[in-house]
Symmetry: C2
């Protein structure tokens, strides 16, 4: 293939267009954050990046807490709308019919409609330019029981997760393999 060289831009894809809840009580808000990623396995940690001018930025700074609610195909309208509207102007939960439920470890709500909620506590904020990076511990997870099989295993493939790539929302498509599948049939070579 022949390549063109472009200047740098934010073109990593796909990324998770997460519905992030923050604040508490009547002041709670929900916004869409696609600049999110896992950063550490033990302890489990993730990052989100939020523009300082967003209504949610001071809410996250003040409480040091937020929840990453995994998005699904059914939530795509809410995902898009909560990314372009501001909690300064409107109650996004009410307009999008999103249910605030009590979290187990943080003071901000989790979204009832999201099948997996990652409750997070910030341990570092790093200003990077247009966005501030919030590094956070994942302190608890809320999982929809409908996604658990008989042995209690999480069948996340049933969730209908949503991906974001270059300005477009996608469903997940075909399952192409499981981590380690290329070495699993050979004896003594599986590494994790």
């Amino acid at each position: 293939m022949s390549k063109q060289v472009w200047k740098g831009s934010a073109l990593l894809a796909p990324v998770p267009p997460a519905l992030v809840t923050c604040g508490s009580g009547e002041a709670a808000n929900v916004l869409t954050v696609a600049w999110a990623g896992l950063v550490n396995t033990r302890p489990p940690r993730l990052s989100i990046s939020v523009r300082p001018e967003r209504h949610s930025h001071p809410l996250i700074c003040e409480s040091g807490e937020f929840v990453v609610n995994l998005p699904t195909e059914k939530l795509v309208r809410a995902v898009d709308w909560c990314g372009v509207k501001s909690g300064r102007d409107v109650d996004k939960f009410a307009v999008m019919h999103l249910t605030k439920l009590e979290a187990s470890a943080v003071g901000c709500p989790i979204l009832g409609e999201s099948p997996v909620n990652l409750e997070c506590r910030v341990f570092q904020r790093i200003p990077l330019g247009s966005h501030d990076l919030f590094l956070a511990d994942i302190v608890a997870i809320d999982v929809d029981e409908a996604l658990l099989d008989g042995s209690g295993r999480l069948c996340l493939e049933k969730a209908g997760l949503l991906a974001y790539a270059h300005g477009e929302y996608y469903s997940l498509g075909r399952r192409l393999g499981t981590f380690g599948y290329t070495v699993r049939r050979r004896k003594n070579s599986t590494r994790r």
Copy 2:
């Protein structure tokens, strides 16, 4: 829906199972990094997390450079295999028939088979536990010309990008919407 509360774990999904190239010349290596994400728009910045015991970790520390090569469905075997094998033991480019091409702005190679290569320069390393977080500027991008339309626009939906969720590799599925689609029909309400 009814929810179970679990202890925290690294359950954000989907994430990009990126093929990261690093090092240079004969010492170049490629590894798979799913703990990757965008962290800033202006200037364009991303992060990857790498375990200190990985062969690539000192290569990235020494040069301060790496390339995030976007994975495609055709590369799923290489993505999996390069995540479980070590460059200490084997030339992963040779075994997986991956082509090293010269980057434009960094000293490590880009992968010819990947349609989009993000050339990155590290500006901060943060040890987080099992992984070190590398924060990096995206200093140049190499784009497959076959993905450009007549007006030079990148049609990333043609690339067949790969996603990773809870230990499984997926293709991207149906396109469900474009950023801002929920407000675009209403006058004077589009915000970016």
